[in-house]
């Protein structure tokens, strides 16, 4: 499973980016760079990532860095997949 591609799909869908998210790479900045990414969207993203990847993300596993870039988000998902 290509985690980056699937994370991008989730970003594109939840943030209603209309396809722009599909071209993101690991270095693409998220929090602060995408106006659609507010608190509510962050929660929706976490929930959708959990459902799509079949993972559970703990309350203490999300911090200021998690949504810094697409790459940091991919890293969290990959670490949960490896659990």
């Amino acid at each position: 499973m290509d985690v980056l591609t699937n994370v991008n799909r989730v970003l594109d869908e939840v943030l209603s980016l209309g396809g722009r998210g599909l071209a993101f790479d690991h270095g693409t900045p998220l929090l602060g760079a995408i106006p659609e990414l507010d608190s509510m969207a962050v929660v929706s993203l976490i929930t959708t990532l959990e459902e799509r990847f079949g993972i559970g993300i703990g309350d203490d596993e999300v911090d200021g860095q998690t949504f810094a870039t697409v790459g940091t988000l991919v890293a969290l998902v990959e670490s949960k997949l490896a659990d």
Binding site: V14, L31, S39, T47, G54, D59, F67
Partner: protein, 298 residues
């Protein structure tokens, strides 16, 4: 083809009025559909899809009723005033209204159309309603604790950047345990309601199927297989005597997307599944002539 009419009105109830939205079919209904909505912001974001689907179901002969539960949407009360018992009572009243409005006791089947957290209310409804009901589930949440988790995450989300998100959640849970209500994004969560959610679940135990129908629909990015959770649950429903029809369609998670989105494949799949179920049940009434293109998806 013009759309069947719909009515928006208030009915008096405990604590004040409830908003009802009723889509009537042309002629006698082949089934009665009562929508059990998603919770809080998920409900708000889903209004459009629920309206579109209500219209589509009415166009093929179903009577569809939506009700804003006590403390929710445009009905009376604030969330902080609402109890689980209020909600199950509202559902019972709405089901009775539908039966009376269409002058039908059995054999016109009643469907509980539950979306997300609405599925948690369906379990109680099935045991408390006067007659049997079928289930139409959209992306059901099976465990109420995930509603609580999501609300508390929302409270913590603004704090995640500073790294004290977990502390906010822990404090909120401690406050609730101590009997204090917690505010999240304008919604007041009382300990009683949180406890009710924590204990709520949708499962087939104790609900005899007797050949009733369970339609389970999900949207995911590009459709494909039904979720692992659904795959695990469906055999249990079958063993309890339910006839199941489950599928995933391509479409956005419209209940939580930043913009209000449509999922036309879900509307189409819902109509098709309901028509299939009516045929399976030996629907004696001839179906209305379908509009061109309706039911073309297989």
């Amino acid at each position: 083809m013009h759309a069947p009419p719909f009515e928006v009105f208030f009915v008096p109830a405990h604590g004040g009025q409830r908003l009802y939205i009723h889509h009537a079919p042309a002629g006698s209904p082949r089934g009665l559909v009562l929508h059990l909505p998603a919770f809080a912001e998920e409900m708000n974001k889903s209004r459009r899809m629920v309206a579109q689907t209500s219209r589509a179901l009415a166009a093929v002969g179903f009577a569809v009723l939506q009700v804003d539960l006590f403390g929710c949407g445009d009905s009376a009360g604030d969330l902080g005033d609402a109890s689980w018992a209020d909600w199950t009572e509202d559902i019972g009243s709405a089901a009775a209204w539908l039966r009376t409005r269409h002058n039908s006791d059995a054999p016109v089947p009643l469907w509980l159309w539950a979306h997300r957290a609405g599925a948690l209310l369906a379990g109680d409804a099935l045991t408390q309603l006067a007659g049997p009901a079928n289930l139409l589930l959209w992306q059901p949440l099976l465990q109420g604790r995930s509603v609580v988790q999501q609300m508390l995450r929302l409270k913590a989300a603004a704090h995640w950047q500073q790294g004290d998100g977990k502390a906010v959640i822990d404090r909120a849970r401690a406050d609730l345990a101590a009997g204090a209500a917690v505010e999240v994004a304008g919604y007041l969560l009382t300990p009683a309601l949180v406890n009710a959610f924590e204990q709520a679940a949708l499962k087939p135990s104790g609900i005899a199927g007797d050949g009733r129908q369970l339609v389970w629909l999900e949207t995911s990015g590009d459709g494909g297989e039904i979720s692992p959770a659904a795959q695990a649950q469906l055999p249990r429903w079958q063993q309890a005597g339910w006839r199941t029809d489950a599928r995933a369609v391509a479409g956005p998670g419209f209940w939580q997307t930043v913009e209000i989105e449509d999922a036309p494949a879900l509307v189409a799949a819902t109509v098709q599944a309901m028509e299939r179920a009516a045929v399976d049940a030996g629907d004696a009434q001839p179906a209305p002539v379908a509009a061109a293109g309706a039911g073309a998806l297989s």
